[in-house]
């Protein structure tokens, strides 16, 4: 041991008014998988930006030693030339270009200024084999799913003779199968001598794969855990991250289930551009007052499509079926009709579909129910600020004022703004699509507490999630969806990860 490939010593990085990193030190052994954990805003991403040269040398204090020598990176190009490659959470691929073109983008296999496509494609094929991606190098990246795109990013990193691979939330957008494959690949690369740093919120993955874990809290290194020798549990990591014992990851909740609120009958949705394809196939589903119902399914099973098609036909074409609210059939042809009937849908992709990032908290909170703070088409902005301010306090949104731009908030706080927006519409039915994706443990707990509170107020809550433990932790009942069909409905007491997974994959094989 004690052969560090990377040492970061006493890194301090200040932004105007904020100390983002204070005296952070970490050391990464050659050939290990090193996990970095911390709540959102703890400084993980900032630390990686310092390492990769996004924040150039001179804008921070402290020193970085790579392969034993001190390095001073002025830009990402400098760090890449040394073999440090970072793969960001938001993938940086060009959808219309082929896999090979993407892999060698900025690093083209050329001869006297002309690209040698034969070399490029054959090298790309070799890299694809290495990452276990069975696709042709000429396939456009836009045709691949997120999981496969992630592999293309890794192939791209490998093409740059990478020595230290940094992955920022690599599995956040992946389903379980793809995550499993990615983790397997990391293990395989490790066997070949690659060093990786992985930032992740998924503690089970960290417990499974990491050799060492560094925990950062409020811009400081809290501790470094040896995962192999000490048999570190998820609870142990959480304790380090939040500085307190959460006891349980899910708040206790006693439910009082009332009458049926939402019922969907025989709901069939076709693909918007390919009407021959059935995305949701005669789905039946009910949610009762005070009930928290889960909707589980693999990626592509049609969970989001089901929810969005019910929410004012925001997705799909040739939609048939009936929606009932308190036993009355309702028409939800447009989003505003759905909102007026008391249905709210909080999207899985808050940056793309949930928030206007260049506007402040106030305008985002009132966006779905502007009429409530206006009279005769006139907005009362003072009333609007008051409303937003009350949500800022009750939802514990960490921002100086409600005039702060939502684009500058952390993921957890952005999610709270999205939820505030929908709570302000005073819904009877809340559809929450991946409500805790990409947010830290502390904020997750707050959101679970909120979901419980909403159920206690008698609202019907439908939660869509890729994380089965989450559904098992908070739901009264869980539906499983596979290839557009509802394949089961299990009460919490009967559901386990195993039998849910079985139902989630069941019909798919028969359909194919």
């Amino acid at each position: 041991m004690a052969n560090p490939i990377l040492e970061m010593r006493a890194i301090t990085k200040t932004f105007p008014g904020v100390k983002a990193l204070q005296d952070v030190s970490m050391s990464v052994e050659r050939g290990e998988i090193h996990a970095i954990c911390g709540e959102n805003g703890a400084g993980k991403s900032t630390l990686m930006k310092v390492l990769s040269g996004v924040y150039p040398h001179g804008t921070y204090d402290g020193s970085i030693l790579f392969e034993g020598e001190e390095v001073e990176f002025g830009s990402i190009n400098d760090s890449e030339s040394k073999g440090i490659v970072i793969i960001h959470q938001e993938l940086a691929l060009v959808p219309f270009l082929s896999i090979a073109e993407n892999i060698f983008l900025g690093n083209e296999r050329s001869h006297r200024g002309l690209i040698d496509w034969n070399v490029a494609n054959s090298e790309a094929a070799a890299l694809l084999a290495r990452v276990g991606l069975d696709e042709l190098p000429v396939t456009p990246v836009g045709q691949l799913g997120v999981g496969k795109q992630q592999l293309v990013e890794i192939a791209k990193a490998l093409s740059k003779q990478v020595k230290l691979l940094i992955l920022d939330e690599p599995t956040a957008a992946l389903n379980d199968n793809d995550s499993e494959h990615l983790l397997g690949l990391l293990r395989q690369l490790k066997a070949q001598g690659m060093t990786s740093i992985m930032i992740s919120h998924k503690l089970n993955e960290i417990a499974e794969i990491a050799d060492t874990t560094t925990i950062i809290r409020d811009g400081r290194t809290v501790e470094t855990l040896d995962m192999v020798a000490d048999e570190v549990t998820q609870e142990r990591i959480i304790r380090g991250m939040v500085g307190r014992d959460l006891g349980h990851r899910f708040p206790p909740h006693e439910s009082h289930i009332g009458d049926e609120v939402l019922r969907i009958e025989d709901w069939t949705v076709h693909h918007p551009t390919d009407p021959g394809r059935v995305v949701v196939d005669s789905a039946n589903l009910t949610v009762r007052a005070g009930e928290i119902v889960g909707l589980a399914g693999l990626m592509g099973a049609g969970r989001t499509e089901l929810a969005m098609s019910v929410f004012g036909r925001s997705y799909g074409s040739h939609i048939t079926g009936k929606v009932f609210l308190h036993g009355q059939e309702i028409n939800v042809g447009t989003v505003s009709e759905a909102i007026n009937h008391g249905i709210a849908y909080a999207t899985e992709d808050r940056k793309k579909y949930g928030l206007n990032l260049i506007e402040d908290i106030r305008t985002n909170v009132s966006a779905a129910n502007l009429s409530k703070v206006s009279r005769g088409g006139w907005v009362n902005s003072n009333e609007e600020i008051k409303v937003a301010e009350s949500f800022r306090q009750s939802m514990n949104i960490k921002a100086p004022t409600v005039l702060a731009l939502t684009g500058k908030l952390s993921g957890g706080n952005q999610q709270k703004v999205v939820l505030s927006k929908w709570l302000y519409t005073d819904p009877q039915v809340l559809i929450l699509d991946e409500p805790t994706r990409g947010i830290d443990v502390g904020a997750k707990y707050e959101i679970y507490t909120l979901i419980n509170r909403l159920a206690e107020e008698g609202k019907a809550v439908l939660v869509i999630s890729s994380e089965l433990p989450e559904l098992l932790g908070i739901c009264n009942r869980i539906y499983t969806l596979s290839a557009g069909r509802i394949t089961g409905s299990l009460p919490r007491e009967q559901a386990t990860q195993e039998n849910l997974m079985e139902l989630m994959t069941k019909e798919r094989d028969q359909v194919r």
């Binding site: 932004f15 105007p16 929410f311 004012g312 925001s314 447009t334 989003v335 505003s336 759905a338 909102i339 849908y345 999207t347 793309k352 579909y353 949930g354 928030l355 206007n356 990032l357 260049i358 506007e359 305008t363 966006a367 779905a368 502007l370 009429s371 206006s374 088409g377 006139w378 907005v379 902005s381 003072n382 009333e383 600020i385 008051k386 500058k408 927006k421």
Partner: protein
């Protein structure tokens, strides 16, 4: 917070907004010196108002289009078409002047509905729709006019852009009526600001300290009164300035205080999020273009009145001046950001520069180059600001 620190804070926080006012003051100062004060002489101030009013009217509509995330390249052609229709009605058919105005506005309405239909309901990018419109409406202008110019308009019609209100209250060389209207406008502004302040205090929000608030009002009041004083020493209150003033106030309110305005910002800021929040996107987009069509018609009537006739080539390049005014005024190229007041100041910057350089006898070719560079620098400054704000995270 002391008054000085408060003032400084006000400026640094709103650099994006205040930067443009500082630039405007600097440019006015520069050209006042370069023209030995002619720029701010009573006759020239009046001139600037008359000469650039139609660009400012177009910029009002354009900034809303741009906030919504679109662009309109056809406004120059629409100015020509509406002016031509009006000229045909009044000059060729001999109908009263107001029938011509209504005919022009009706054509603007139809043009707006046409373009709004394609953008909102068919989903064709506004760039393409209005590029087609630019050709289409220019061609129609030529058809309507039969390739010739029409003139002159009757005196009433000419008054729209060239007439003045004055002399109602007398005065010797200084028109008291104009001063009175100016004073009413300044007091109205002060009163509305004061009411807004009271409203904010009632809701327990942070307001500027009293000295800063008063300083701001006094500054605005002084500039406003100096401007009206110069007008009153010349020919009085231009009718077109009244039209422009009413439009600015109305659209400032529409963009900042109404649900429609809020929806325009929401669509430009994040289309998908707006859609999923129940904003009727198609409906809003349609009305953005209807509004632009009508404002283009107003500009078309004003321009035809000012040039006392309709020409086949009227309004060429107006779209670029209007677009430039919006971007100089801080609108974002990607939508969601912009202000009516900003676009007005942006338009005035262009106006003062053109006028100043004309007074100095600078060649047309140089004028064009300078205007081009100013547009480029203004947007570069904006991007620099945004990046600085981003880095401060």
């Amino acid at each position: 917070m002391t008054a000085m620190a408060g003032l400084k804070d006000l400026f640094t926080r709103n650099l994006r907004q205040s930067g443009i006012y500082v630039a405007f003051v600097a440019i006015v100062g520069l050209f006042t010196i370069l023209t030995d004060g002619v720029l701010l002489s009573p006759g020239n101030v009046t001139n600037i108002v008359l000469q650039y009013s139609y660009i400012l009217i177009l910029a009002i509509g354009m900034v809303i289009v741009i906030i919504g995330g679109h662009i309109d390249l056809s406004v120059g052609s629409v100015v020509a078409l509406t002016g031509a229709v009006s000229a045909v009605v009044v000059i060729q058919r001999g109908l009263p002047w107001w029938v011509g105005v209504l005919a022009g506005l009706a054509v603007g309405l139809l043009v707006g509905m046409w373009q709004g239909f394609w953008v909102a309901y068919v989903g064709i990018p506004a760039f393409i729709v209005t590029l087609a419109g630019m050709l289409l409406f220019r061609g129609m202008t030529l058809q309507v006019l039969g390739n010739i110019s029409l003139s002159p308009f009757p005196a009433e019609y000419q008054k729209i852009a060239g007439g003045f209100l004055n002399g109602f209250l007398g005065g010797q060389g200084i028109d008291v009526f104009t001063l009175l209207i100016g004073a009413i406008a300044v007091l109205g502004y002060a009163f509305s600001q004061y009411r807004a302040r009271l409203g904010r205090i009632k809701y327990q929000q942070v307001v500027e300290t009293m000295p800063i608030f008063v300083t701001k009002l006094v500054l605005v009041g002084l500039v406003g009164m100096a401007f009206t004083y110069q007008l009153s020493r010349s020919r009085g209150l231009p009718i077109v300035l009244i039209i422009l003033g009413v439009l600015i106030i109305a659209y400032q309110i529409v963009t900042t205080k109404t649900v429609f305005g809020r929806h325009v910002y929401a669509i430009g800021g994040n289309l998908s999020a707006a859609q999923l929040s129940g904003v009727k996107v198609k409906h809003v987009n349609f009305w953005i273009f209807v509004n632009m069509g009508i404002l283009s018609a107003v500009a078309g009537v004003v321009y035809s009145s000012r040039s006392n006739g309709a020409q086949p080539s009227a309004g060429e390049m107006f779209e670029l001046d209007a677009i430039a005014a919006c971007f100089i005024g801080g609108a974002s190229t990607t939508g969601g950001v912009g202000r009516v007041t900003g676009a007005m100041v942006g338009g005035l910057i262009m106006a003062v520069m053109s006028n100043g350089m004309q007074l100095m006898g600078i060649d047309q070719s140089v004028q064009q180059m300078v205007k081009g560079l100013v547009l480029l620098l203004a947007v570069a400054f904006d991007i620099y600001n945004k990046r600085r704000a981003g880095a401060a995270r």
